[in-house]
């Protein structure tokens, strides 16, 4: 291919991505520094009101709750995903196991959340079972609290956590574990001291792929948390302020911060990965 056609091939994509992704993001950043127009929209006058608002006490509470929920949901997800990925990587039936994890993920997202409502509500499946077994006397409200939100968030994040971990474990050299066993190390000890450090990259990537979408979640806290205290997350705040208060600068400000948090998180992972690759190549010259 002598002529450099790269530019022409990518031209369409570049136009679409620039106009419909990059420019809107820049507009959001721009608007976050403007004054709000009471009937929706903005007035082109510089103002830090939006940022003052989001650093107020009320918003700090939402940020705190979002961070707490993100922390617990991510931890729970990783705790479950690691053994699953380990089992899958060692199995002879990798394909089938992969299907089991992925197929539920392909059913409609909203439908799955709705299924959890059906399970957790006062006359839902869980209460039905517990009542029948006599474990409780009156229905317990499993919905509309922080724990429910965390559990359902973990549910939706599991496939995203399992896949990168699975890829990382697959590339791991298991003969190292055999050697450790031959040298007398217990199984758990070998896993902790050999496997985990070696798949560190996969663990970090997995955490980032899980934590950041959770941080910006809207649907799960909205449907499962119901807007109750302790379950209200940043994503909901963006939507509420935008739709109900017709205030543009404030959600733009929240979104701008969310953007930076996301990009810093992902770029940090990329830099670490490419740094590790460079170290590896340098060591093995």
């Amino acid at each position: 291919m002598r002529k450099n056609l790269g530019f022409r091939y990518t031209l369409l994509a570049m136009i679409v991505t620039t106009t419909l992704t990059i420019i809107p993001l820049l507009i959001v950043i721009f608007y976050s520094f403007l004054t709000k127009n009471s009937s929706g929209g903005v007035i082109y006058q510089f103002s830090l009101d939006a940022y003052r608002t989001i650093f107020s006490k009320e918003y700090a509470l939402v940020l705190k709750d979002t961070l707490i929920i993100t922390f617990w949901a991510t931890s729970m997800t990783m705790l479950v995903a690691l053994p699953c990925a380990y089992y899958m990587a060692l199995s002879r039936h990798k394909d089938i196991l992969m299907m089991i994890i992925i197929v539920p993920f392909w059913t409609n997202f909203l439908v799955r959340i709705f299924a959890w409502k059906a399970i957790l509500e006062a006359n839902g499946f869980l209460n039905l079972i517990l009542l029948k077994l006599g474990i409780i006397d009156t229905p317990f409200m499993f919905l509309y609290n922080r724990t429910a939100v965390i559990v359902v968030l973990a549910y939706t994040s599991l496939p995203f956590a399992i896949l990168p971990l699975y890829n990382a474990i697959e590339k791991f050299d298991f003969s190292l574990l055999e050697a450790a066993r031959d040298l007398g190390s217990g199984h758990m000890r070998s896993l902790a001291k050999i496997l985990i450090p070696n798949i560190r990259g996969g663990i970090v990537a997995s955490m980032v792929f899980v934590a950041i979408p959770i941080f910006g979640q809207y649907i799960v806290p909205q449907l499962i948390g119901g807007g109750n205290a302790g379950t209200f997350m940043l994503g909901q705040q963006i939507a509420n302020v935008f739709f109900n208060e017709r205030n543009w600068p404030v959600p733009s400000a929240i979104t701008t911060l969310l953007m930076f948090v996301t990009l810093i998180g992902f770029f940090a992972v990329r830099i670490r990965t490419s740094q590790k690759n460079r170290d590896y190549l340098a060591k093995n010259k």
Partner: protein
């Protein structure tokens, strides 16, 4: 018992996996069971009542369903064409804007939906672009393209470019190389990309919520409205069963392309 790597089969991990699998699939099974419940809350007996109501009285849901199909296929086709061309360009050439495209693709892939949704809503409203369903299609095309590009690129990375050199040596012109060599080889991932794009579009709730107007609801938005306001909300169970059945059917027919989708 030994497995692929000669390690003892991990028993604890197996238990965790089985529990996880149950955890993942059980909600769907419960949905299916509930859709056949005659009563509203407690079990009254097997009944197709909700299916009946769904098929006779819920035009709004079916209109939304039709909208969803229209949007997802249109957006899917556009995004697949643009994304495939982009991947081809990114794979084989070095050009000045390459880095910019790679970075903006990456950004588009990792941002949470709410960021994409809000930015597009503000963008489209500010420019007074009010094409109803067209707005939704534009938004979906925007967020699907990076996924298609990624998938086709992954496939292109895999194959042996000496075929291209061979074709050149045999005198093929650039257009012929494109249509007769590159595209046939990339076809599984192009189709995988299209399927992924359609799926992402059908699923999307947040972005459509922000961007769609009153007359242009898609299925997830309509489902949400039904759950919140409709007294007959149990029809959503019946609808869910139909959607689950559709997904299973789709996965079954597309299973050949699954490995290309999973790899990314």
């Amino acid at each position: 018992m030994n497995n692929l790597q000669g390690i003892q089969t991990p028993r604890l991990s197996r238990v965790v996996f089985i529990l996880t699998a149950i955890f993942l699939i059980a909600p769907l099974l419960i949905l299916i069971a509930y859709s056949f419940n005659g009563g509203k809350n407690s079990w009254t007996g097997f009944s197709l009542r909700w299916y009946e109501i769904l098929f006779t009285r819920k035009e709004m849901l079916w209109q939304a369903f039709f909208n969803s199909i229209l949007v997802s296929i249109t957006a899917g086709i556009i995004a697949t064409i643009v994304g495939t061309l982009s991947a081809i360009g990114l794979h084989w050439y070095r050009f000045r804007t390459k880095h910019y495209i790679q970075v903006s693709n990456f950004i588009a892939l990792v941002l949470p939906e709410i960021v994409v949704g809000l930015s597009l809503a503000i963008f489209l409203t500010s420019l007074k672009i009010n094409l109803g369903l067209g707005n939704v299609i534009l938004a979906h095309v925007a967020f699907i393209i990076p996924f298609v590009t990624l998938m086709v690129l992954a496939r292109l990375d895999e194959f042996d470019s000496s075929i291209i050199e061979a074709a050149e040596d045999l005198g093929a012109k650039d257009l012929q190389i494109l249509t007769k060599v590159i595209i046939p080889i990339a076809k599984p991932s192009i189709i995988g990309g299209f399927v992924t794009g359609v799926t992402l579009s059908l699923e999307d709730f947040v972005i459509t919520l922000f961007v769609g107007g009153v007359g242009s609801t898609t299925l997830p938005v309509a489902i949400n409205n039904t759950i919140r306001k409709d007294p007959d909300s149990n029809v959503v169970y019946a609808l869910s069963v139909i959607l689950i059945a559709g997904t299973v059917l789709l996965v079954f027919t597309a299973r050949r392309f699954l490995k290309y989708i999973v790899k990314t």
